[in-house]
């Protein structure tokens, strides 16, 4: 009991990662393959990169007490813009990347302004902007379009040993964001605003700045994920984001990583663990050739079960607005009342 109470949720996440590695080793070995072969490790890490980008941004947005459901459409839009501008000309790579990221940043800015300025719940605000982009995509693009030049496609295809370049870029982004969260005023304000926006305001924090910043970073990272997908596919696609279900999966990865959905508590390192768990489970199921529909069943159960592992410890319910005592007292009172 002493040991478990000293464990933070991040530790537990990595215990679950370890558990998944052990299970993966056994299951994959039973199928006559090696879990630790260079090819397999590379494919797991490749699986982490796209969701990783989005989940890093989603962590920030959830930390400030908002949500971002518009990411899949930002991913699609950025892949289309980049591939469209590049049009197979290596000289156009830089403009393509810059335009895609700038548009993503503007979308994030709008999200942030709507959430912080108009006081619209992040769920509704980003569902709304997502729908707006989705209508634009459906009207203007009938299918894949654009063409990424070979030198840009190499980003999605090459690696240092078993580690793909895309994963390295993702980890570099994570390191920068981690630095911002832990070392800068902006990062601390994000935690403060997510914990209690009124207390944060009364403490002299400009509450809109961290919310807007989190949304911009999240959208830009979603734009990076779109660029990566454009590099992998060689074209831009209007459905690539919504097909991946990145909105809900990234939120699940963040919560899996021990971040509170209500905001204010959580860690980026935990999120990366959550992404790694998803990638490994996907990989194990692919190696075992499980029916694609059953994969979703396993994913659904794993999400709930993994969150259940520490849900009993970090008992702060989502809507508790006046929470100042541990929930345990409430639950005992409830039993008395019942």
């Amino acid at each position: 009991m002493k040991i478990t109470s000293r464990l933070t949720s991040t530790h537990i996440v990595y215990l679950v990662v370890l558990l998944t590695v052990i299970a993966g080793t056994i299951l994959v070995a039973a199928a006559g393959r090696s879990f630790f072969s260079a090819g397999n490790i590379s494919s797991i890490l490749t699986g982490t990169s796209v969701l990783g980008f989005i989940a890093i941004g989603q962590t920030l947005v959830i930390l400030v007490g908002s949500l971002d459901l518009s990411v899949p459409y930002v991913v699609s839009l950025s892949s289309l813009l980049a591939a469209g501008i590049m049009a197979n000309q290596p000289a156009n790579i830089l403009p393509g990347v810059l335009v895609a990221l700038a548009v993503a940043a503007v979308i994030g800015l709008i999200n942030g302004l709507v959430v912080s300025g108009l006081k619209v719940h992040g769920f509704v605000a980003t569902l709304g902007t997502g729908l707006i982009i989705s209508g634009y995509l459906a009207t203007n693009y009938k299918g894949s379009s654009g063409q990424a030049p070979l030198s840009f496609r190499l980003v999605g295809a090459t690696g240092l040993g078993p580690v793909p370049i895309s994963t390295l870029i993702m980890l570099a982004c994570a390191a920068v964001v981690l630095l911002v969260l832990d070392r800068t005023r902006l990062g601390h304000s994000m935690y403060a605003v997510g914990g209690d926006i009124n207390v944060a305001r009364m403490s002299g924090i400009r509450t809109s700045t961290p919310i807007i910043a989190a949304h911009i970073i999240c959208s830009v990272l979603a734009g990076m994920a779109g660029l990566l997908l454009a590099a992998r596919l060689g074209v831009g696609s209007p459905t690539i984001g919504s097909q991946g279900g990145y909105d809900l999966l990234s939120i699940a990865a963040v919560v899996l990583g021990g971040t509170l959905l209500a905001g204010g508590k959580g860690s980026l390192v935990g999120t990366l663990g959550g992404v790694l768990i998803f990638a490994m489970i996907d990989n194990i199921m692919s190696v075992l050739q499980i029916n694609p529909f059953l994969k979703d069943v396993v994913r659904g159960i794993v999400i709930v079960a993994a969150v259940a592992v520490y849900a009993g410890r970090r008992v702060v319910s989502r809507t508790a607005r006046f929470d100042d005592t541990p929930q345990e007292t409430v639950s005992t009172r409830q039993e008395v009342g019942a």
Binding site: I132, T139, L294, A320, V330, G337
Partner: protein, 365 residues
Amino acid sequence: MSTLTPDRKAELRRDRSPRKDRLLRGMRTPGGAVFILLLALLAAVIFVNPSFGEPGSLIRFIGRTAPIAIAAIGQYFVIVSGEFDLSMGSVVTAQVIIAGNLIGQDDAKVLPVLLLMLVFGALIGLINGLVTTLLKIPSFIVTLGMMLALLGLVLYWTGGAATGNPADTFRQIGRGGIENIPVLEILPYPVLILLAIAAGAFWLMRRPYGRTLIAVGDNARAAALTGARVWWIRTRAFILSSLAATVAGIILVGYAGVHPSVGRGYEFTAITAVVLGGVVLGGGRGWVLSAAAGAFALEMLFTLLNFAGVASTWRDTVQGIIIVAAVAAGARTWERRRRGASSATHDKQTPIAQPPAVGTNEGGK
């Protein structure tokens, strides 16, 4: 306060504003404004296409919108208690496919399978609710997991393809109606089902359960301290939500037939409708009939866009703009109400007790 008890009802009646004032005040809340929005949209649609105003085509529109309105009513219970139900769309799909596969062309199987579907729906809600409340996992995650797992199971069962075609008597629930009615020509069954469910939901929200549900959504801890069994109240909300999804699925079998894509995205449409109806995400505020009106306003908006010749691909964009605008307007109003500005400045204040006599500090006798 013993003086109040003999004719307390008369006192309450005296202290209440007149019905007209209360109605006007209700219309100023987001939950009331949605009805005005609905009427405005209806007027606009009739302006663009006068034949839409005929009773026959209006009642068909209501019938078409019934499943989404029923889903919105179900989602309302969960949202007002401070939770989310993302599994709704998967429940609709699952029920549609169960109906298609189990009923077949056998009329005798209609009733047992109908019962099985309702039990199955209640079971899904029970699981969602118990996992959320007892294991203390955010409902967003629980119902997201349920959404993935349920859809995966159903598609695995059917191999991902459309199968089965239930007996015509079953499809009549969604498509048929009472015919030969004087003005309306036909009264579709979905309209009757919607009316029954709306009346039931309205009644339920005035019962102690409904009042406690809103209290739990507003402040779960305070509700627990007053003796409410929060876990069981929320669990029942999840059961109601899944049952509503089941009914929506039953109606959709008649309209859309059996296909794994029926019900896709229903959870977000239902949440959009509920939010458009002025219900606050996070719980504790909103009216159940406004949620249904939100569904109608949404569908009416799409009808308007259709008649106005807007390409259907822009539907999403307009939907997005509308919900952000509606919720932004709503956030303002609720905020003002919470500060008390609207009721303090606009309502006539009627003193309940006499003011204290001069020279004493005892009042209210």
